[in-house]
């Protein structure tokens, strides 16, 4: 319990420091002005979300291979957290897009593939809610999770493969790309903050899943008596 409180406190402090850096340390971007500060939160959430889905994918593979309950619990915990992070990406993106592009939404490669990703992981959670038998639920959702992950590299590379409305990458984007050095530091600090915060949520959600499994076992014991 003490470790969880320390982890929560560290996460909250980092979140405050990340927001402070984004608002007060990062310089104003020349063409977009103050609205570009959404970038630190938007992209930080997007990267943490994709890494949560990567964790879900690894857990799904391990469940199919080893059939251990803990991998199913890690899978569902990281899928749910990844979905919440992607929801935030899909909310903050249009808020930024309206003043920057003049429109909230367009069906370009990055936006559409991110929306599809969001739908895939909603389907993953819906599938789990439809299957009662725990082992069958874990196996089928793991197989679906492995399939759903195919969209993650598609989202990541969409702005490299196709030139549409969404800006081309400023990080690891090749010649001519890149950020001002202070912006770069603030950006990577916010990426770290969002990863720590995502990990905190995954741990909390994993504890919830373990408690749920404990209830299932006790209920079966009660029914057997």
């Amino acid at each position: 319990m003490t470790k969880r409180i320390i982890f929560a406190a560290v996460s909250i402090l980092l979140v405050i420091a990340g927001a402070y850096a984004a608002f007060f340390i990062a310089p104003n971007e020349r063409s977009m002005g103050v609205v570009q500060r959404i970038f630190y939160f938007h992209v930080g959430s997007a990267w943490a979300g994709m890494d949560a889905f990567l964790l879900c994918f690894i857990a799904n593979l391990l469940y199919v291979w080893k059939r251990q309950q803990k991998y199913d619990s890690i899978g569902v915990a990281s899928a749910e957290v990844g979905l919440v992070l992607t929801t935030v990406v899909l909310i903050t993106g249009p808020i930024w897009a309206k003043p920057a592009w003049g429109i909230y939404w367009t069906w370009d490669a990055r936006l559409t593939s991110t929306f599809v990703l969001w739908l895939l992981y909603i389907s993953y959670l819906l599938l789990r809610s439809l299957i009662e038998e725990p082992e069958r639920r874990a196996l089928l959702s793991s197989l679906f999770g492995i399939f759903a992950f195919i969209d993650v590299p598609l989202v990541f590379f969409s702005i490299r493969w196709w030139r549409t409305q969404h800006p081309s990458p400023v990080i690891m984007g090749g010649p001519g790309s890149g950020l001002d050095p202070t912006m770069n530091k603030v950006f990577f600090f916010n990426v770290l903050v969002m990863h720590v915060f995502a990990l905190f949520l995954i741990v909390e959600r994993y504890i919830l899943e373990k408690t749920k499994n404990e209830v299932d076992i006790l209920q079966r014991e009660a029914e057997a008596q």
Binding site: K98, V215, A222
Partner: protein, 47 residues
């Protein structure tokens, strides 16, 4: 400071979503812990 309202909206809504999600996890965990205690009390063997 043009579009500062959009920046605040993005951060407030975003953190609102995270906070609501955390509260839902805490509430569900707390309810399940109560259920675990109830079931353990109804199963003397499991104590």
């Amino acid at each position: 400071m043009k579009n500062l309202d959009s920046v605040f909206a993005a951060y407030l809504i975003g953190w609102g979503v995270f906070f609501a999600f955390y509260l839902s996890i805490a509430k569900r965990t707390s309810d399940l812990r109560t259920e675990v205690e109830r079931l353990k009390n109804s199963l003397p063997r499991a104590k």
